[in-house]
Symmetry: C2
Subunit: 216 residues, 2 copies
């Protein structure tokens, strides 16, 4: 392993350890010493990579953003139509939240007051949902006009953000079963019965798996 | 004013000031000195009423619970049918979240890890939604069987909790307009067209107003 590879590995371990600390104790109560112990490195090694707690929190946020955006982008690349893509994207993102502590902690940080306000992943998700619904309208999949489209976007954003909030109580809220149940309820409100038959509320397995593949 | 009335007034002012501090800075960063300054009382007066920060947080939670439960109970007392009652209750609770800092802060505290785990208002809301849907099924208002009922309950809980989470970004998410939009989207998924005509997604004004009346 080169020196650079070792550096990257240490930095990643610190980001992962910090994510665990932030997730468990919140930003305010997480300590740098617990983060370095968790990563199995010395306090000196931590300070070589990160100036302070704010800097490491920023790195956790950035890592979460990168993963979430990449997943949404790959899912979009495999889209069949805009509504199925929205379903597949929520399934892929839910799986990230279930499996990736950096995504969980980074999302929470990006939505809290403690950090940079220009970056709020909730708002980004909102734009993503609106865009997909506009595309679905162009594709003739959405029933109702512009007012209804706004109601639908708000309801989808609220329900999906709600799943993330509720997953703090129980991981079950972000299970494939729960996400499928959400879409079983919402899809009939979005589209006409003839379009509904071609949509899979449980997501397209191949797309979900592809979206989570590591960068090759 | 009697000594007891003055005591109650001071305690209420401390709870309100603490709610503001917890809401703005979070539990961990809120300070007792800021809370007593905000209430316009001496640190001694604070310590007469509350032993420490945990005790005052508990009082904020308890006050929020009392208000939320009372509002839901009054709305239930004015119900016409179970679905309309669910709509009216969400409107009345949304108004509490908009207008009452103690409710906002107390709800957040009750859902965080820092406080008592046996009291989680999110779980209580979940039970309330499930019960209303079971009643709606008994009243013949709900379409679909038990599996569908569980999907519906989860979707309603997720969407309403999502509104509360999103209201941290903008109060608009808990506006009457947003709550109405949510129900305009969800009600057609819950009930048959013939029942839908008799339901008001914008809530029953008299019930919402009654629910928020102070205890007489």
């Amino acid at each position: 392993m080169t020196k650079q590879e070792r550096g990257t590995r240490t930095r990643d371990a610190l980001i992962r350890s910090a994510a665990g600390e932030f997730h468990q104790h919140g930003y305010a109560l997480a300590t740098l010493s617990a983060i370095s112990v968790g990563a199995g490195v010395s306090p000196g090694a931590l300070h070589f990579h990160f100036e302070n707690k704010a800097a490491i929190a920023e790195a956790v946020e950035d890592a979460a953003c990168t993963t979430l955006r990449r997943t949404a982008r790959i899912a979009y690349g495999h889209r069949s139509n805009a509504l199925q893509n929205l379903v597949d994207t929520t399934h892929a993102l839910a799986r990230l939240f279930r499996e990736d502590i950096v995504v969980r902690a980074g999302f929470r940080l990006s939505c809290s007051n403690h950090c940079r306000t220009e970056l709020n992943l909730r708002q980004e998700w909102q734009s993503c949902v609106r865009q997909r619904l506009a595309e679905a309208a162009d594709e003739g999949l959405l029933c109702g006009g512009a007012v209804r489209q706004q109601d639908l976007a708000r309801t989808i954003v609220a329900a999906t953000i709600g799943l993330v909030t509720l997953s703090q109580d129980s991981g079950e809220w972000l299970s494939p079963h729960a996400v499928t149940g959400l879409w079983r309820t919402l899809l009939p409100a979005l589209t006409a019965p003839e379009s509904l038959a071609g949509l899979e509320p449980e997501g397209t397995p191949a797309v979900i798996i592809h979206s989570l593949a590591p960068v090759g």
